[in-house]
């Protein structure tokens, strides 16, 4: 019988897979002017960490079609630092019976702002196609590597003192200086045993 922790180890991924609809990425379908639209956007982002929105357009028309895809901030846009507005409007060319992918990247939730939700309008040829809602959550305490390293080292080194106090209490005096030998109790597996007397 599996012990409880092993059962939990198996159960957690299974439960996670069962809750597909709760997954953070929002992928949805929509119909617009003929092309089929799929949008992949995070449901939440960390403050200070760049995020991306992916739009996939596909159609079954026999000729090439061109669309102007635009992502415009709406409510709560002050929560985000957005890239150059020119990069938020892209012309996508769909080949016959093909698809086109458009990526809007470097959407960064501002650090220090209150937490909240921001909405973005995704429009195709000027017509609103989807309203994307992104929630901001508290991001890393430090973005840069050096302060991150300093913080982690500070916690770890401080904990060295705690570990030293505990280990000195439970170990023999002067143990840290002396070497330790090991001898097997004689339960070697058969393949390791020497047949010679």
């Amino acid at each position: 019988m599996l012990p409880s922790c092993l059962r939990a180890f198996v159960a957690i991924p299974l439960l996670a897979c069962a809750s597909a609809c709760a997954q953070a990425p929002d992928s949805s379908f929509g119909e617009l002017h003929g092309p089929r639209l799929r949008v992949y956007a995070p449901a939440w982002v960390w403050q200070g960490i760049p995020a991306s929105v992916i739009v996939i357009l596909e159609h079954s028309e026999p000729q090439t079609q061109t669309y102007v895809v635009s992502l415009q901030p709406d409510r709560g846009s002050s929560l985000f630092d957005l890239p150059d507005p020119a990069t938020l409007t892209v012309t996508a060319e769909l080949p016959p019976h093909g698809e086109a992918r458009v990526i809007f990247s470097d959407l960064v939730a501002r650090r220090g702002e209150n937490l909240g939700s921001a909405s973005f309008f995704l429009s195709i040829d000027g017509e609103e196609a989807k309203n994307i809602l992104i929630k901001t959550v508290r991001g890393p305490a430090f973005i840069a590597k050096r302060p991150s390293l300093a913080a982690l080292l500070a916690v770890s080194l401080a904990w060295c003192v705690v570990c030293a106090i505990v280990l000195f209490r439970i170990s023999p005096p002067g143990a840290w200086r002396e070497t330790q030998t090991f001898s097997a109790p004689g339960n070697l597996p058969p393949w390791a045993k020497d047949d010679q007397p």
Binding site: C5, L6, A8, F9, I12, P13, A16, C17, S19, Q23, A24, P25, S27, R38, Y40, P42, W46, P50, S52, I54, R101, G139, P140, A141, K145, S148, L149, A151, L152, V155, S156, L157, W159, C160, V162, C163, A164, V166, L167, I170, S171, P172, A175, W176, R177, E178, T179, Q180, T181, F182, S183, A184, P185, G186, L188, P189, W191, A192, K193, D194
Partner: protein, 455 residues
């Protein structure tokens, strides 16, 4: 040394130098070990625990970055570094089999002051290493349950790990890890397959190469990734872990033939472990290359990577399996991170037990105390919410910096003539070459990181 002692029991060495061993008269490397037969293939045992160290968030982040920036072109670096890692593990096992001494004794033999340095390294690495794994576990769980705070998810993963170790059943742990290793490799390969990775170029990635006409920035990224990979694959003091697993199983003998048999068997075991670490990088690089080349985005974190796999995943039987591919990746990531977190704690606890001459057993009170000591700060660090991608790169830098010290000490110790049957000799020229190669790799990696840190 020949007096039987219970496993893990401690006894100070005689002050008159290393004890004489029964193999002193036998020419080095002259015995033929027992043939392994099929065991050669199915011998993954404690190596799975070792593999868990190597296949953690570090491996995944570095493989993701390599795949996104250079495709498969850096896959060869895993095998080169795996060979170095294998040699370093082998050196610690040879020392253990020769003297019957624990790995930390190797450093204390040189100077007791090494114990202080290693104590700090072990505590810092065990806390930072495990914290980054709980962070990754938390990100996976939070991607499925956004309403659960990251810190709570990480704490759940850490508590599960503590419960597993508290049971003190090493055999069960070994089997669980072997199964987990197979599962995570399957998950990553399946997600890469669904994302329609381009496998044709993978074989070319096995040949060591430097792309021509790289920009200075690309050249710098290339070097940095190799150095970071060295920090991840050659895990500082963790290369000393394997002898502890042998002690758990009572694998030691005073008879030379049995020592040779043991060495032969365990070499295959940790060779599988290193190979698994190199192998698991392939599907991650493949998936990452697909994302970067087709979508033009370098993923910033695991969740984004998983989301980006979704639109790439192919139609199977008329159904879009994108979400499934993302879940497979996240499932593989959870297993890799969780087992790695457990391994960090165990490796850290074994080393501290060794330094303080406490019983080296999973099923012991000091082991449980140490697990609690690691649990508290590694969960507390989650509240800083440091991006694990950044965290693990920093960590790899730290490991690469501390490693040369450990590597130099190990090579110096095993190259001495008192290694007896396992000593460096003319007939073992290849082994000597690999040992020196491993040392050179570790020093180069350490130097590379130091030169980046220093102004």
């Amino acid at each position: 040394m020949n007096d039987p002692l219970p496993p893990g029991s401690a006894a100070p060495s005689p002050a008159s130098g290393p004890p004489r061993a029964p193999d002193d008269g036998t020419p080095p490397w002259s015995l033929k070990p027992r043939k392994l037969g099929l065991r050669r293939i199915f011998s993954l045992g404690a190596g799975a625990i070792l593999a868990a160290f190597f296949i953690g968030t570090g491996d995944i982040v570095i493989a993701t970055q390599m795949g996104a920036q250079f495709g498969y072109a850096l896959w060869w670096s895993y095998f080169i570094l795996a060979l170095a890692g294998w040699a370093l593990i082998d050196m610690s096992v040879r020392y253990y089999l020769r003297f019957g001494k624990t790995p930390m004794s190797l450093f204390k033999d040189i100077h007791p002051g090494f114990a202080i340095l290693l104590f700090v390294i072990v505590v810092v690495c065990a806390i930072m290493g495990s914290a980054s794994q709980w962070n990754a576990c938390a990100m996976v769980l939070t991607s499925f349950y956004p309403e659960v705070p990251l810190e709570a998810s990480g704490a759940v993963a850490a508590l599960l790990a503590a419960v597993l170790i508290f049971q003190g059943l090493f055999d069960r742990l070994e089997k669980l890890f072997a199964a987990a290793l197979v599962a995570l490799i399957a998950c990553f390969f399946a997600s890469a397959l669904l994302a329609r990775a381009d496998w044709h170029q993978a074989l070319a990635g096995l040949v060591p190469n430097i792309p021509r006409n790289m920009t200075p920035a690309a050249r710098s990224a290339w070097t940095n990734l190799i150095v970071a990979n060295a920090g991840s694959m050659i895990n500082a003091w963790l290369i000393l872990l394997y002898p502890y697993t042998m002690m758990e199983k009572g694998w030691f003998s005073n008879r030379l033939q049995e020592k040779a048999n043991l060495l032969h068997r365990v070499r295959v075991d940790y060779a599988w472990a290193m190979l698994a670490a190199a192998l698991v990088a392939l599907p991650i690089m493949a998936a990452s290359a697909s994302v970067a080349r087709r979508l033009g985005v370098i993923p910033q974190n695991y969740n984004e990577f998983a989301v980006l796999l979704d639109p790439l995943a192919r139609q199977v039987a008329g159904k879009n399996v994108g979400k499934f591919a993302a879940k497979l990746f996240l499932g593989g990531l959870f297993i890799a991170a969780w087992t790695s977190g457990v391994a960090w704690w165990m490796g850290g606890a074994y080393a501290l037990l060794d330094i303080f001459r406490l019983p080296i057993r999973m099923n012991s009170r000091p082991m449980r105390i140490l697990v609690i000591l690691f649990l508290i700060p590694s969960v507390a660090i989650l509240f800083l919410r440091i991006n694990p991608a950044v965290q693990i790169v920093i960590f790899a830098v730290f490991l690469a910096v501390v490693f040369p010290v450990v590597g130099l000490a190990v090579v110096w110790r095993i190259s001495r003539r008192d290694m007896g049957y396992f000593r460096w000799a003319k007939c073992a020229a290849l082994l000597i070459a690999i040992d020196i190669f491993a040392l050179a790799v570790s020093i180069l990696a350490g130097w590379g990181e130091l030169s980046r840190l220093l102004p």
